[in-house]
């Protein structure tokens, strides 16, 4: 029927059309519109992780999402999904007011139908446009912001990237060899597969796995991630890091964590060691689901405790200001404690 709105899963052959649509209706130079390799890595597995709204056989809306099964097929039964990008015709340059009334219907039908098709048990939206909070609130999403914590290296004498940090607040050096803790870097999939760490994934939803870590981090097509396991008699934590080199300085982004909240508290000497190993200015950590008290016990400082402090988060291109990451999630009759970190969804991907 002419003008009838059809919503369906995209196919791999639709990628070019989707990229053109993103370019024209969202951002001209958006990396997902330019970089097919990244697009395919994020949104294509056996099928595409994208729904299309079509009118007269032309795309009028796309909804991109990342199911965790994208990285480990065995996680399929969990049906945990990260919402990623929702673009409707005439939604140009991220100026939401241009989404006029006639497109509101398309946006809603696409959103509803996508989740009707996916039947998720958990949906997480990370990096949400704050103007969409009221909508998600109405849909009974729990809304929050990621906490942003950091630790400045005790081995440096001045900061190049962080602004307005009071040096006297720096923590004292702690060497890991004076504790019962040890750590080891994991270099490849074989090493990771051989570890006895399956029980560490039970502490949170969305549920991750060894294969998830391999696919998401070790096999990333653009970024190099560093996976460390921390032991106290046995392995109790896994920390995933990404190093940024900027202005002759290294910065450690602590982008994902596996392990209990309680064992997070032992990480302080590990932080000191890796700050030294990578000659980094600081380490930062975005998180939801770990209490402020635990983060403090691990020696991390809360960025928001000092209003003048600037801990940049955007480096592609560099933006010299603090960035709040708004999140929302909804559980559908499942139990489990939700934790969300920087690398969840599409929040830690190339942007240039």
């Amino acid at each position: 029927m002419k003008n009838k709105l059809i919503i369906k899963f995209a196919k791999k052959k639709d990628i070019i059309k989707i990229q053109k649509f993103i370019k024209f209706h969202y951002k001209k130079n958006h990396i997902l519109a330019r970089n097919q390799k990244l697009f395919e890595w994020l949104y294509i597995d056996k099928i595409s992780n994208c729904t299309l709204a079509l009118k007269n056989n032309k795309i009028v809306g796309v909804y991109l999402y990342i199911p965790l099964k994208k990285f480990d097929e065995k996680l399929n039964k969990e049906r945990h999904v990260f919402g990623s990008l929702w673009v409707i015709k005439d939604f140009k340059n991220h100026v939401v007011k241009n989404l006029e009334r006639e497109n509101v219907g398309i946006a809603l039908r696409l959103f509803y139908k996508t989740y009707e098709l996916l039947k998720p048990k958990l949906v997480v939206a990370s990096g949400m446009d704050p103007r969409l909070c009221a909508f998600h609130n109405l849909k009974k999403y729990k809304l929050s912001k990621l906490n942003h914590h950091f630790i400045v290296s005790p081995y440096i004498k001045k900061t190049n990237i962080i602004k307005n940090f009071i040096f006297s607040n720096r923590s004292k050096k702690r060497r890991i060899n004076k504790t019962k803790i040890s750590f080891k870097k994991i270099y490849n999939a074989k090493e990771l597969k051989n570890l006895s760490i399956n029980s560490l994934f039970r502490y949170q939803i969305p549920l991750k796995s060894k294969i998830y870590l391999i696919s998401r981090y070790l096999n990333h097509p653009f970024y190099k991630y560093h996976i460390y396991v921390i032991s106290k008699e046995k392995i109790i934590n896994i920390c995933i890091l990404r190093i940024i080199k900027f202005k002759n300085t290294n910065i450690i982004r602590f982008v994902d964590y596996v392990g209990s909240n309680r064992s997070f508290t032992i990480l302080n000497p590990f932080f000191h060691e890796i700050l030294n190993i990578y000659k980094a200015e600081y380490l930062d950590f975005y998180s939801y689901g770990i209490s402020l008290n635990i983060l403090k016990k691990a020696g991390l400082k809360n960025r928001t405790e000092n209003r003048k402090l600037i801990i940049p988060s955007y480096f592609e291109p560099f933006v010299n200001k603090n960035i709040d990451v708004v999140i929302g999630y909804k559980k559908f009759n499942i139990k489990g404690k939700v934790r969300i970190f920087k690398a969840d969804s599409d929040q830690d991907r190339p942007n240039l």
């Binding site: 709105l5 007011k97 989404l99 006029e100 009334r101 219907g105 809603l108 103007r131 009221a134 109405l138």
Partner: protein
């Protein structure tokens, strides 16, 4: 609560209109809260609140609080 009160409550909540700012003469884009994103939240709220699915034409025609009453009446909601 009658349907008119329910309608008004959904309006105020969906558009996050502050108490005292609401009146029955409000129109689309005449207050900052009722922009396209607000409209999406409002339509979603009304669909959920009244258990209806609105036609695209009605979503487009829904341009004021009063017009909304007329449109919802088409879905057999009595005010």
């Amino acid at each position: 609560m009658n349907n008119k009160q329910k309608y008004q409550n959904i309006f105020v909540k969906s558009l996050s209109i502050k108490t005292g700012k609401f009146n029955e003469n409000i129109k689309y884009n005449e207050i900052p809260e009722w922009d396209s994103i607000g409209h999406m939240t409002l339509i979603s709220g009304l669909e959920e609140g009244f258990g209806i699915t609105m036609d695209t034409d009605d979503i487009v025609d829904f341009s004021s609080f009063k017009k909304g009453l007329e449109i919802l009446a088409k879905y057999k909601i009595k005010f």
